[in-house]
């Protein structure tokens, strides 16, 4: 279970607050969506969960299965089950995709107390998972994300997610830059990972993604706070009315 309690966050070395008291609980097996206007702090929330050090928590806590994530380094959070699918997946020139995947997977397996995979075991697993996401294995022999299209990058993120088997998936605007077909493939990939053991936080600007990944709950984040929470129908309502209401309320 994820429990975010009165979370206040500012940019490190600056005084400007971004998140001003977030309270959010996601039970095991639930999928929550966070929607909100640009600049509302959605991506900051995603980064702070994964442990990016450009931000500073000034108040509050984030508990994951009862343990505070804030004391953990990014790789320790990953070992604890946290995974962030980036809005802008990074390119790593000179590191082949397969090398990267194998290094990550085996590092996680070691930390989770499992045996490392042998090369044949690893290749079998990658082939199986990448086929489901319509990813050509040749693509993974190239450097990580280098020269990939927007859609390829997002699919490669979901492949990483499928391989690393996290228990908390944070998807940061995974729909941005995707055409309809890519959106369907990516969503199917995400839905395949839905399980009673896995919690998900889907961050998006548009309702569109939530037609494919149907959430249990929807929250509206604006001005650093959750302004409203509701069921999946809240997303449809927002699509009608826009975010203006929240902008005004905050101002």
């Amino acid at each position: 279970m994820l429990e975010i309690k009165n979370l206040h966050v500012k940019i490190a070395e600056e005084d400007k607050p971004i998140l001003r008291g977030i309270d959010l609980t996601i039970a095991k097996g639930e999928v929550h969506a966070i929607m909100g206007p640009n600049g509302s702090g959605k991506s900051t929330l995603a980064y702070i969960l994964a442990g990016r050090d450009d931000y500073e928590v000034t108040e509050g806590d984030i508990l994951w299965n009862g343990e505070s994530l804030l004391d953990m380094e990014p790789d320790e959070r990953a070992a604890a089950g946290v995974f962030l699918a980036f809005q802008y997946p990074m390119e790593i020139p000179g590191v082949a995709g397969l090398t990267f995947l194998r290094t990550a997977l085996n590092a996680l397996r070691r930390k989770r107390g499992h045996e490392e995979l042998t090369t044949p075991e690893f290749m079998k697993l990658v082939k199986e998972k990448s086929a489901a996401l319509n990813i050509d294995i040749e693509m993974l022999k190239r450097p990580v994300n280098v020269g990939f299209s927007g859609g390829e990058k997002k699919r490669s993120e979901i492949l990483q997610m499928a391989l690393l088997e996290p228990t908390l998936c944070v998807l940061d605007e995974t729909d941005s830059g995707l055409d309809i077909d890519a959106l369907r493939i990516v969503s199917e990939g995400v839905n395949a990972l839905r399980s009673p053991e896995r919690s998900m936080l889907v961050i998006t600007h548009y309702q569109r993604l939530l037609n494919h990944i149907v959430p249990d709950k929807v929250h509206v984040l604006a001005n650093g706070k959750i302004q409203r929470s509701g069921g999946k129908e809240l997303a449809l309502e927002l699509e009608e009315s826009g975010y203006a209401e929240f902008g005004e309320k905050a101002a």
């Binding site: 994964a50 442990g51 990016r52 050090d53 380094e73 990014p74 790789d75 959070r77 990953a78 070992a79 946290v82 995974f83 962030l84 980036f86 997946p89 990074m90 790593i92 020139p93 000179g94 590191v95 090398t99 990267f100 290094t103 990550a104 997977l105 590092a107 996680l108 930390k111 450097p143 990483q160 690393l164």
Partner: protein, 443 residues
Amino acid sequence: MSVAVMKTKAELSFAENFDQVHEQLPGSPAVKRARQMAADRFAELGLPHRRIEEWKYTDLRASVKDALPVRVGDATQMTIADVIVALGPLAKLDAHRMVLVNGAYRKELSSPDQLAGLELEDLASVLASGSEHTEGLISLTARDADAVLALNTAYMTDGAVARVQAGARLEKPLLIAHLRAGREPGFTAHRNVIEVGPKASVQIIEAFVSLPGAASEGQSNAATQITVGDEAKVAHVKCTVDTGEGITQLSNWMIRLGREADYSGFQLTQGVSLARNQIFVAFDGEDAKLDLSGVFLARGREHIDTTLVVDHAVPSCESRELFKGVLDDQSRGVFQGKIIVQQIAQKTDGKQMSQGLLLSPDAEFDSKPELEIFADDVACGHGATCTELDKDLMFYCGSRGIPPDIARGLLIESFIGEAVEKVENQPTAEAIMEFARGWLAKK
């Protein structure tokens, strides 16, 4: 106006050592005269210091405190198993080996067979014989004013004298292995003279490595001359990989390229306290291609300098340089790349890049590209970057569960990989990466 400069302890020692050992150094009377001339030349020049433009960042007068005893006629007990240990990842290469220990050629440790198309002799024998090679050697050295090369000529004990026959395509690389062994710290001077005939093809690897338990101090002065014939192809690699704490290497590559020659040179330098790698390339014929690259890895207070001068003296040639340094602690990397495009050298295509990756706030990378272009129809460019490990990429790796030390290794490997990829021969490139990984793992 002339100013009398005080000789440093090291300069005096180099002179004294020469007086002591020059009778034992190999060579015909003509060679002995050349040695004396070179020793005089060195005495006149002294160790290069920071007031000399080319040596601004690498002050030998300040950093070379003393001259170690000269190694002549070394007879350290060694076996082929020792050679394999010393060569590390290079031992896996299926290569024709010429092995030198502490500056002396060791026939019994070298490949016994002959390589078709290659005439290979040891320098000491050639110098003593007074053969035609000697003439070329002396004439080339005499007109060169560089103090480091003068020191080499004065003291050179051994090395490879190789001739690749016209049209010959050598099936195996020639591996010239310079081993440092034994507890006694010493000074060695190597000289390799290689002539590659027209349309020939060869890979030459120079390794400067040490045996476990070798003295932590050592000084080496190495010079390699290669003449690449018309339409010949040469891949040249130098791996200087040591583990001592007081290792100095001063090296010179002097390359001449014939018409349509294709030469690629790569240098790996790691585990040395002080290195100055000088590369001089002259284009003698049109439509030749040059590709120089290198990786230098330094930590502690190590200092590694790459200084190159590429002289486009004829039209329509291409030159590429890519040098990458990883610098930790208080180490310092230096890159000086001078590209001269003479007025006649129209249609020259030159590109240069040097990149430093600083792992510590106290590390330093000095990069000085110098383009001197006298022709008007050329395409030349250069770039230099100096960066830290990308924080965002470190975070990206971390978010995938990769711990910081492994992520750092991955990113450093990818940084230097771009330069190592220039080495066409796969097994050689892999050996270079293995050396580099060994360096990374030591942190």
